[in-house]
């Protein structure tokens, strides 16, 4: 069964360092997302990406964050200068029709980011 894959599964970094989280969405999906979940809190939307551009972003997704689809398979989230409060589980998701359709998202297993 097709699945969304994410790497790394866990990354520990020092405050102020740049981090890149990688995702391979399901191959025939057109909409790509990043969500995050701080320990014990709700899953929160960060950004959606369609047709090689950001289609929507949340207030969390400030200038320190960027996304890219450098080739036909990978989708990356970059945090330029990490802060302690960026520590969270980051989930990549993909969808055939997107949130304005049925909203069915398929999530990866997550990348746990720990900022020291």
């Amino acid at each position: 069964e097709p699945e969304v894959t994410q790497t790394p599964s866990h990354q520990v970094t020092q405050m102020g360092q740049e981090v890149i989280l990688r995702c391979v969405p399901i191959s025939n999906h057109l909409y790509f997302y990043w969500y995050r979940q701080i320990l014990g809190q709700k899953v929160e939307f960060l950004v959606s990406f369609y047709n090689n551009e950001i289609s929507e972003k949340s207030e969390i997704f400030d200038d320190q964050f960027s996304v890219e689809r450098p080739d036909g398979s990978n989708f990356t989230l970059k945090i330029r200068s990490t802060k302690l409060e960026d520590s969270a589980m980051y989930f990549c998701a993909s969808s055939v029709r997107g949130g304005r359709g049925t909203g069915e998202l398929f999530f990866g297993e997550g990348s746990r980011l720990t900022v020291l």
Binding site: V4, F45, G98
Partner: protein, 110 residues
């Protein structure tokens, strides 16, 4: 701001019991999804409901979308230890963003 409130937040029951989880909002959603999440893993989609009043069944799980599309429920019949996990509801409100509830942590004891 769209919010989804889930209740109860925690439930510990014995194998064979029935349970219902509620997901409520003051906002209308175009669709609502239920996910199950295991510790340290991503949410796994269980079902999507789209039409007000819709009922969907997935083996021992029954999902209902409220007539006004503001609330949903998940009913599990004869719960089993394998049902243990975090159950999340998430609503799509006409944008790309899914709004998640905080989840209901279910423990089914053998």
């Amino acid at each position: 701001t769209q919010l989804l409130e889930q209740s109860p937040q925690f439930l510990s029951i014995q194998e064979g019991e029935n349970l219902t989880v509620y997901c409520n909002s003051s906002s209308v959603f175009s669709s609502l999804q239920w996910y199950r999440q295991e510790p340290g893993e991503g949410p796994v989609l269980l079902v999507t409901v789209v039409t007000g009043g819709e009922v969907k069944k997935l083996k021992r799980l029954t999902f209902q979308f409220g007539d006004a599309r503001k609330d949903s429920s998940l009913h599990i019949t004869a719960a089993q230890p394998g049902d243990t996990g975090l159950y999340l509801c998430a609503g799509a409100g006409g944008s790309e963003k899914l709004v998640f509830g905080k989840g209901m942590k279910l423990t089914v004891n053998p």
